[in-house]
C-alpha cells in the first residue's frame, strides 16, 4: 500500500479496468430494475384507472324520457296557488298515473290496450312522482300548464340506451321486448329519449332502482366521520405523542404502552368495529348506523398511526432548537409548543393524511356498527342514520341490476375525488408549515 508506483500500475492494469466496468454495469442494472418496477406500477395504475373510469363514466349518466305532462289543477286535484303542504300531499300514485298517461298519449295507445299500456309503463322509472312533485314545488306557477319535461327512464331501459346489452339477444332473455325497444327507438328518433347527467347520483340515498340510487347519504356520512376523526384523533394523538416523547418517564410501563401502540396500528380494523359495537352501542347506548359512532371507531383506529407519525416527526426536529429555547429560559412546554411542534407539523400532517385516507376507505368496522343499512333520507346531523362511501360501494357491488355496475365504479371515482380533495387540503396546509432549519 505504501508503494505508490505499484498502486498506480495496478490502477492502470486491465484487471482494474474490468473491475471498474463491472461496477458501472451493476449500477446500470440497478437503475434498469428500478425503472422497470416503477413502469410496472404505473401500468397497473393506468389499467386500474382505465377500468374504473370507463365503467364509472356511464354511472354519471342516466337515461331519461321527455314527456308532455298536463299539470292541470284538475289532474293534480289541487287549487291554483295551493300551499306547499297541499303540493306535498298530492299522492304519488296520482302523479305516476299522470306521467304514464302522458306517455300513452304520445305512443298513441288505446284506453283498452291494457297489456301495451303496462309495457309502456315499464319504460318510466318508479320515481317519476317525486320528480314531478319537486318540479311543482320549485315553481308552483306551472300548475295549470302542460310541461315538456325529462323524466327518469326505468333501470331496465338504461342498459339499452347505453348499449351495454346487445339487442340481438333473444326476446325472452331481454329485459325489454321488441315492442318496448321499438317505442324506445321512436322516442330516441324524436329526441325524447337520451342520456342526461345523473343528478340523482349526488342527491339520493339508497334505492333498489339503480336510476334512483345515489351516494349522497354515504358522502355526507363519510364527511361527518372524517371531521370527527380530525377533531378527535389529531389532538389526542398529538398530545399523547408529545407526552410519550418528551415527558413520560422512561420505565417499563412506558415501554409497555409504546409496544401496545405500535401493535394497535397493526390490529385488523374489524376488531375496532367489534370494540365500537360493544362499547359505544351496547354499553353507552349510542344510536346504531350513526356517523358519530363510526367517527369514534375510525378515530380509535387512526390514533396509533397519528401517534407513531407524530413521535417520529418530533424526533426529526434537531435537538439544538429545543436546547436553544431551553437556553433562553423557556420552560419545557414552551420549548415544545413554540419551537418543536411547529417544525414537526409537516410530518404530523403527513401522518394524519395517511390515517385519514385509511379511515376513509374503511368498510369492515362500519359494517359491525350497522352502517351497512339502506338509508333513504339525507342525514341532517352526525346522530342521524347514514352510511359511508366505501360501504355504499360494497353494497352496490353485490346487487344484480346492470345499472349498479356503473354506479359502483362511479362511486369509486367519487371516493377517489373525496380522497384527493382531502389530501390536497393537507398538502397545502403542510406547505404553509414547512420551514427549513
Amino acid at each position: 500500500m505504501t508503494d505508490t508506483s505499484r498502486t498506480t500500475s495496478y490502477l492502470q492494469s486491465e484487471e482494474a479496468a474490468r473491475r471498474v466496468k463491472k461496477r458501472y454495469a451493476a449500477e446500470k442494472r440497478f437503475r434498469f430494475y428500478g425503472l422497470a418496477m416503477i413502469s410496472i406500477g404505473l401500468i397497473f395504475l393506468a389499467i386500474l384507472f382505465y377500468t374504473i373510469i370507463s365503467a364509472g363514466l356511464l354511472g354519471f349518466q342516466s337515461s331519461q324520457i321527455k314527456v308532455q305532462v298536463p299539470l292541470t289543477a284538475e289532474n293534480l286535484g289541487i287549487e291554483p296557488g295551493a300551499s306547499r303542504e297541499d303540493i306535498e300531499a298530492i299522492s304519488g300514485f296520482k302523479l305516476t298515473k299522470l306521467a304514464r298517461a302522458s306517455l300513452h298519449t304520445y305512443l298513441g295507445l288505446a284506453d283498452g290496450d291494457r297489456d301495451a299500456r303496462a309495457r309502456s309503463d315499464g319504460l318510466l322509472s318508479n320515481g317519476v312522482d317525486t320528480q314531478l312533485r319537486d318540479l311543482i314545488l320549485d315553481d308552483p306557477a306551472i300548475i295549470g300548464s302542460t310541461v315538456d319535461v325529462w323524466l327518469m327512464a326505468h333501470g331496465n331501459v338504461d342498459p339499452f340506451l347505453k348499449r351495454q346489452i346487445s339487442r340481438d339477444l333473444p326476446e325472452e332473455r331481454r329485459l325489454l321486448n321488441d315492442q318496448q325497444l321499438g317505442w324506445l327507438d321512436r322516442l330516441a328518433a324524436d329526441d325524447r329519449a337520451a342520456l342526461k347527467f345523473n343528478t340523482n347520483l349526488f342527491k339520493m340515498g339508497a334505492s333498489a332502482d339503480p336510476e334512483l340510487a345515489g351516494v349522497a347519504v354515504g358522502l355526507i356520512g363519510s364527511f361527518f366521520m372524517m371531521v370527527l376523526v380530525v377533531v378527535i384523533a389529531l389532538p389526542i394523538g398529538v398530545g399523547a405523542a408529545i407526552y410519550l416523547e418528551e415527558f413520560a418517564p422512561k420505565n417499563k410501563l412506558t415501554d409497555l404502552v409504546e409496544v401496545n401502540i405500535n401493535n394497535l396500528a397493526a390490529v385488523p380494523s374489524i376488531v375496532f368495529g367489534i370494540l365500537g359495537l360493544a362499547i359505544f352501542i351496547n354499553l353507552l347506548e349510542m344510536p346504531r348506523s350513526a356517523p358519530v359512532v363510526g367517527g369514534l371507531v375510525l378515530s380509535l383506529m387512526t390514533l396509533p398511526t397519528v401517534i407513531i407519525a407524530t413521535r417520529s416527526a418530533l424526533r426529526a426536529v434537531p435537538p439544538s432548537i429545543k436546547q436553544a429555547a431551553l437556553g433562553v429560559g423557556a420552560s419545557k412546554m414552551q420549548a415544545i409548543f413554540h419551537h418543536v411542534l411547529p417544525l414537526a407539523m409537516p410530518g404530523i400532517l403527513t401522518g394524519l393524511i395517511i390515517g385519514l385516507a385509511h379511515a376513509l376507505g374503511e368498510t369492515a368496522p362500519l359494517i359491525m356498527i350497522g352502517m351497512v343499512a339502506a338509508v333513504f333520507d339525507i342525514p341532517g346531523g352526525p346522530l342521524d342514520p347514514a352510511t359511508a362511501l366505501p360501504v355504499q360501494i360494497y353494497m352496490w357491488a353485490g346487487l344484480p341490476e346492470r345499472g349498479f355496475v356503473a354506479l359502483t365504479s362511479a362511486a369509486i371515482m367519487i371516493l377517489l375525488a373525496f380522497l384527493l380533495t382531502m389530501n390536497a387540503t393537507a398538502v397545502i396546509l403542510r406547505k404553509r408549515f414547512e420551514r427549513r432549519w
Partner: protein, 270 residues
C-alpha cells in the same frame, strides 16, 4: 425595562472594584448512569472576566459548563452532586426555578442554532416569555440594544424580518449571542462558540466576547489554545473529568505548574 437597566447599573457599580465572585462550585460530580463524567471539580467564576475551560475531548469541560445553567437536567441519566452557588444560592436547591436560572445564566451553543423564525423574533423570544417587555416599543428597544451589543445591528437593521437561518454562520452565532443577552443574563456560557466558524467570523466573535466581559461573567469552552489565550483572563485545564490546574491565563500558558498542562498546551497530547 427601567428596573432591569438600573439593576444592571448597580451590578456595574459593585464591579468597579475587585471582580466579585459569581459562581462558587465545590466538589461537583456528574454521573451519566454509572459513568462518572466529572470527578469533584471546584472552581470559582468571577464577574467581568472570561473563564476559559480547555482540555482534550471527553474531559468533562462541556459537562461542567452545562451544570452551571442546569442544562444537564435535560439528560435523563445525568446526576449532579456537589455544590454550585450562584451569588451564594445553590442552583440545585429545590426552591430554585430552573427557568429563572436559565434567564440569569444564558447559553451560546457550539453550532449556531437560531430559531427558524425572523431575526426579530429570535431576539424577542426570550424577553417575551419572561415578560421583560409588555409594549411593542419596549420590545423593539430590547431587540435593538441586544443586536447592537452583539455587533450585528449594522448588518441586519434593515432586514429584521428575514429568517435567522438565512444569515451566514458567523452572523447566526452573533444572533444567538444577541438572543442570549436579550434576557439580561448575569452569566453567559459559551460551548465552543467558534468551532463552526471561519477565522474571520471567529475573530469577530472573539472581539465581541471581550466587549461583553464588561457587563457579564463569561465562561467559554474551547478547543483552541490560542483562543483561550486571546480572550480569557482565567483558564482551567480539564483532564479525565478533573481540573488539573487553574489560574490566571498568562500563568497557565507561560508557566504551568503541572507537567500534564505543559504537555497539553505545547501539543504533546490532546
Amino acid at each position: 425595562m427601567d428596573t432591569r437597566q438600573s439593576s444592571l447599573a448597580e451590578r456595574h457599580a459593585v464591579a468597579d472594584g475587585q471582580p466579585q465572585v459569581k459562581f462558587v462550585t465545590r466538589g461537583v460530580h456528574v454521573y451519566y448512569g454509572e459513568k462518572e463524567a466529572i470527578k469533584g471539580v471546584s472552581l470559582d467564576i468571577l464577574n467581568n472576566e472570561v473563564t476559559a475551560l480547555i482540555g482534550p475531548s471527553g474531559c468533562g469541560k462541556s459537562t461542567y459548563l452545562r451544570c452551571l445553567n442546569r442544562m444537564n437536567d435535560t439528560v435523563d441519566s445525568a446526576r449532579v452532586t456537589g455544590s454550585i452557588l450562584l451569588d451564594g444560592t445553590d442552583i440545585y436547591d429545590k426552591k430554585v426555578d430552573v427557568v429563572q436560572l436559565r434567564a440569569r445564566v444564558g447559553m451560546v451553543f457550539q453550532k449556531p442554532n437560531p430559531f427558524p423564525k425572523s431575526i426579530y423574533e429570535n431576539v424577542a423570544y426570550g424577553p417575551k416569555i419572561h415578560g421583560l417587555a409588555t409594549k411593542k416599543a419596549d420590545l423593539d428597544a430590547i431587540v435593538e440594544t441586544s443586536l447592537k451589543k452583539a455587533g450585528l445591528w449594522n448588518e441586519v437593521s434593515d432586514r429584521l424580518e428575514t429568517q435567522g437561518t438565512a444569515l451566514s454562520g458567523g452572523q447566526q452565532q452573533r444572533l444567538c449571542i444577541a438572543r442570549a443577552i436579550a434576557v439580561s443574563p448575569e452569566v453567559i456560557l459559551m460551548d465552543e462558540p467558534c468551532s463552526a466558524l471561519d477565522p474571520i467570523a471567529t475573530a469577530r466573535v472573539e472581539e465581541l466576547i471581550d466587549e461583553l466581559r464588561e457587563n457579564y461573567a463569561i465562561v467559554i469552552v474551547t478547543h483552541s489554545m490560542q483562543q483561550a489565550a486571546r480572550v480569557s483572563q482565567k483558564t482551567a485545564f480539564f483532564h479525565l473529568g478533573d481540573i488539573v490546574e487553574h489560574g490566571k491565563t498568562e500563568q497557565i500558558f507561560t508557566n504551568p505548574r503541572e507537567e500534564r498542562t505543559r504537555d497539553y498546551i505545547t501539543g504533546r497530547f490532546g
